[in-house]
């Protein structure tokens, strides 16, 4: 209990020892030890499926460990559910936010701790507290803004405020920068720094090694359910951490030869799109992608990249302009027709679009291609062919576990992404459009996914890549287009200066700068 905190600066804020957790046949955590000093930022890295999330869920009371002990500030505790975790001063910011979008920031923060029947008193108290928190930690958010209207970066701040408002001394952040722009991520790190300065303890789960090196004091590495190493951040390197995570040497740069562009396979001419709310999302976008090249689109999320991808894929109607795939021009098309013309699409959000997570893996192996003669037997599906195809895709893309009969939701994020990628590339497209290919994907899988994209390029296919990770765009692309506010601001060579691209991303054109 918080009341019995020992005032011993040397006692670890969190000490886990011998944590075991098993789900059926899967040993998610095996004899895990973890010691986190109070007032530090401690990173936990590991591939997807390494057991990081399970471990944090045990700490936050979502799961109970099969064996092992949890000590907070030296005291043995049991955390049967998340309300116990909150009472013990542990707060968690989930990868997918747990916010009520139509509610205001204030209402979200006080949700569940309204304090009494009359809302107004609680509201006044929460408002005052919120102002204090905002000042202490540089967590400025308008308390009366409706959460659904806020950009993700601010929504995340609301999540942090929620945890602090409940008296969190230890904050767990699960992949917090997955949805943030570089700027927003920087701001988050400043906030975390403030939290540390105020004596809070932060546990940061991520697989972005750069972030670990930039912000943490110490870092623990998990692999296959075990804690394989803990290092002082100052005494380690990205290469060492990557190697510890994967268990072998990892290539952190993309190894690729020069592009040999051929004829234009994808051409977008002056595309305009007005969305369902009447907002113009694309304001005359033109671009060409040639056979054998990767064209990357850089930009802060929400500047029309998603709409561009969906429009090319035939999921949104053009309100102006034309698109041609493989020389065939269209103004109206649906995704099924475009697939037949050799356009494959790896969507930005695999959960929302690329997969049906409640389906078996093999059922997702044919999503979008389920009408192909290879998978059909008249009106019936050819189950044997589908099973074989799924198995082959999983083998070729090293999906783990390679079990076509497993429910898709039970695969880790990286493996789910491999399922999508395997399906789209195996279909043999001439043009591949890819959104956020490595979002929420671990280092080992990122390397594999990047290699696949380069292979496809070298096989003479055209690839359009959209990613909010500028590093990724620069590493993979042969040409970089920068998008801002529904327009292409300019084209740069992939080796161009990062700051120059950054300026374009913020809407400053070359002439003006």
């Amino acid at each position: 209990m918080p009341g019995s905190v020992r005032l011993d600066a040397r006692a670890a804020a969190i000490e886990l020892s011998g944590i075991d957790k098993r789900f059926g046949a899967v040993q998610a955590n095996r004899a895990v030890d973890l010691r986190v000093e109070a007032g530090t930022i401690h990173g936990i890295v590991g591939e997807n499926g390494a057991g990081k999330s399970t471990l944090m869920s045990i700490l936050y009371g979502f799961y109970e460990a099969d064996a092992g002990e949890i000590r907070l500030n030296g005291n043995l505790v049991s955390i049967p559910d998340s309300s116990a975790a909150i009472r013990l001063g542990i707060g968690m910011v989930h990868q997918h936010f747990m916010l009520v979008e139509p509610f205001t920031v204030l209402e979200n923060v006080m949700l569940g701790v309204e304090g009494g029947r009359r809302l107004s008193a609680g509201k006044a108290r929460a408002r005052k507290e919120l102002l204090t928190l905002a000042r202490d930690y540089d967590l400025r958010v308008d308390p009366d803004a409706v959460v659904g209207d806020l950009p993700v970066g601010l929504q995340q701040r609301v999540e942090i405020l929620k945890a602090l408002y409940r008296g969190a001394e230890t904050l767990i952040l699960d992949e917090p920068t997955g949805v943030l722009t570089p700027d927003e991520a920087d701001h988050l790190f400043r906030i975390l720094g403030r939290l540390r300065a105020q004596g809070k303890t932060v546990l940061l789960i991520t697989h972005k090694l750069r972030e670990i090196l930039a912000i943490t004091d110490s870092v623990s590495v998990m692999r296959r359910g075990e804690m394989v190493a803990t290092r002082r951040t100052a005494e380690t390197s990205a290469e060492e951490l990557a190697e510890l995570m994967v268990g072998r040497r990892v290539l952190l740069r993309v190894d690729k030869g020069p592009a040999r562009p051929g004829k234009v396979l994808l051409s977008v001419e002056n595309a305009r799109v007005v969305d369902e709310h009447g907002v113009e999302r694309l304001r005359g976008v033109s671009l060409d992608v040639r056979a054998g090249e990767i064209v990357g689109i850089a930009g802060v999320a929400g500047n029309g990249q998603s709409e561009l991808l969906e429009t090319i894929a035939g999921m949104r109607p053009l309100t102006g302009g034309r698109i041609s795939v493989g020389g065939e021009t269209w103004e109206k098309a649906d995704p099924a027709q475009l697939r037949l013309k050799g356009l494959a699409h790896v969507p930005e959000d695999r959960h929302r679009m690329g997969l049906v997570t409640t389906f078996l893996a093999k059922e997702n192996a044919i999503l979008g291609y389920h009408g192909r003669p290879a998978y059909a037997n008249g009106m019936f599906l050819d189950r044997e062919a589908i099973l074989q195809a799924s198995r082959a895709q999983m083998e070729a893309y090293d999906v783990r576990p390679p079990d076509p009969e497993l429910k898709t939701a039970n695969f880790s994020g990286g493996n789910q992404q491999k399922i999508v990628l395997a399906r789209e590339i195996t279909a043999g497209p001439e043009v591949l459009i890819v959104g956020q290919p490595t979002r929420g994907v671990d280092v080992g899988a990122i390397e594999a996914i990047h290699r696949r994209l380069i292979e496809l390029r070298d096989a003479g296919k055209a690839i359009l890549l959209v990613s909010v990770e500028l590093d990724e765009v620069r590493a993979l692309s042969d040409r970089v287009l920068v998008m801002f506010d529904g327009r292409i601001m300019g084209e740069r060579d992939a080796s161009a200066d990062e700051r120059e691209i950054g300026l374009l991303m913020s809407g400053v054109t070359g002439e003006a700068a």
């Binding site: 099969d66 999921m315 697939r339 679009m353 389906f359 389920h370 059909a376 009106m379 019936f380």
Partner: protein, 367 residues
């Protein structure tokens, strides 16, 4: 938190627990009116299974519930909640009746039966088409439109029966009685094979069609391309859009199939039992179908079992009202309502506890 439960728990133990809870509460109700719950259960079971005629009635009711249960189940898979089974079955009855009236002078029953089945399915499907179209293209919520269409169906049928179909000069609101060629054969012979005499029970050939429909729905949902598209659309509409599955088409096709199944139900009372068109052909089976589909987890096997359960409750309940004067017909409805409540609406009541117990057990075992 959501560790998967073994299938036998998910599909066997939990429904059984729900059912047990329903009977427990129903038992208290029976106790409250001064009768013995144990005896009541005995009466119900005897009434439903104890003698040939009872079994015949049980399966007769089951037949209707299978059709309407399947109708709701198919729509469930597309994420559509078709509350309109009652109206679709009623209009389906019009289709069946008109076909039989048109052909019973000219054709043998085995030719009329498929024509009447098609008529019922077609009329039921068309009755579902309008709500489907409104949902698909205008976003009018299908729950609202289908339920409203139940009322429209009822009024329309009253008007048709009174003004068009009724035999002139008679007082009763019904069509003429079908000729013997326009009646489905009873399954008395088949049941004799099992040593049962169904006596006057109206169990008829549509029961066999209901079983065929179970298999057909299973094939449709899990083995065909269309079923795949229906399931994708139901589980994740964005993924369906991404996959090039046309939402308008899937909504309409699914609702046509659903309405068609509900329409087929009318074969049982119209061509199998009453041998004429009459008021309230659906007889509530359309609504029971919702509970059946919920309880049967939208799976044809589950639907068939849940339909049997409700068949037992209907037949055994009728027997109960007869044998125990303190238990009126309304009490029987209360008991049926409790089953719907616990098995359908409170489906998740016991799940967390069961899941926790299993988590505990799983922990002790490997250690």
């Amino acid at each position: 938190m959501n560790a998967p439960l073994p299938n036998w728990v998910d599909l066997g133990l939990i429904p059984m627990l729900n059912l047990a809870a329903a009977f427990l509460v129903a038992g208290l109700v029976v106790l409250a009116v001064g009768e013995s719950p144990i005896e009541a259960v005995q009466v119900i079971l005897y009434g439903a299974f104890g003698f040939g005629e009872g079994i015949g009635f049980t399966l007769f009711y089951t037949t209707s519930f299978i059709f309407t249960g399947l109708a709701v189940a198919v729509a469930f898979h597309a994420g559509l909640f078709n509350i309109g089974g009652e109206g679709q079955a009623y209009i389906g009855g019009l289709g069946v009746g008109l076909m039989v009236l048109a052909f019973d002078h000219h054709l043998p029953w085995w030719l009329i039966a498929p024509i009447a089945a098609l008529g019922g399915a077609l009329f039921g499907a068309l009755w579902a088409l309008i709500p489907a179209y409104l949902q698909a293209t205008r976003g009018s919520h299908i729950v609202i439109t289908t339920i409203m269409f139940n009322f429209i169906a009822a009024s329309l049928m009253v008007w048709l029966l009174v003004n068009v179909v009724k035999v002139p000069g008679t007082m009763s609101v019904e069509s003429r009685t079908f000729l013997p060629e326009g009646r489905l054969p009873k399954l008395g012979g088949l049941m004799e094979f099992f040593g049962l005499d169904i006596g006057g029970a109206p169990l008829n050939a549509s029961f066999l069609l209901a079983l065929v429909a179970c298999v057909a729905v299973w094939l449709l949902i899990w083995r065909t391309r269309l079923g795949y598209e229906i399931r994708v659309f139901g589980a994740n509409p964005s993924a369906a859009r991404y996959a090039g599955i046309n939402p308008v088409r899937i909504t309409i096709v699914t609702m046509l199939i659903s309405g068609g199944l509900a329409g087929l139900m009318a074969l049982n009372p119209v061509m199998g039992e009453q041998h004429r068109m009459f008021l309230d052909i659906g007889g509530g089976a359309g609504f029971v179908g919702i509970a059946v589909a919920l309880m049967g987890r939208a799976h044809p096997v589950g639907v068939a079992l849940a339909a049997l359960l409700f068949g037992v409750l209907y037949q055994g309940g009728a027997e109960l009202a007869f044998e125990m004067p303190a238990i009126t017909r309304d009490m029987v409805v209360v008991i049926q309502g409790l089953v719907v409540l616990f098995a359908g609406a409170l489906e998740f009541m016991f799940r967390p506890t069961v899941a926790r117990l299993f988590a505990l057990r799983a922990r002790e075992k490997p250690a």
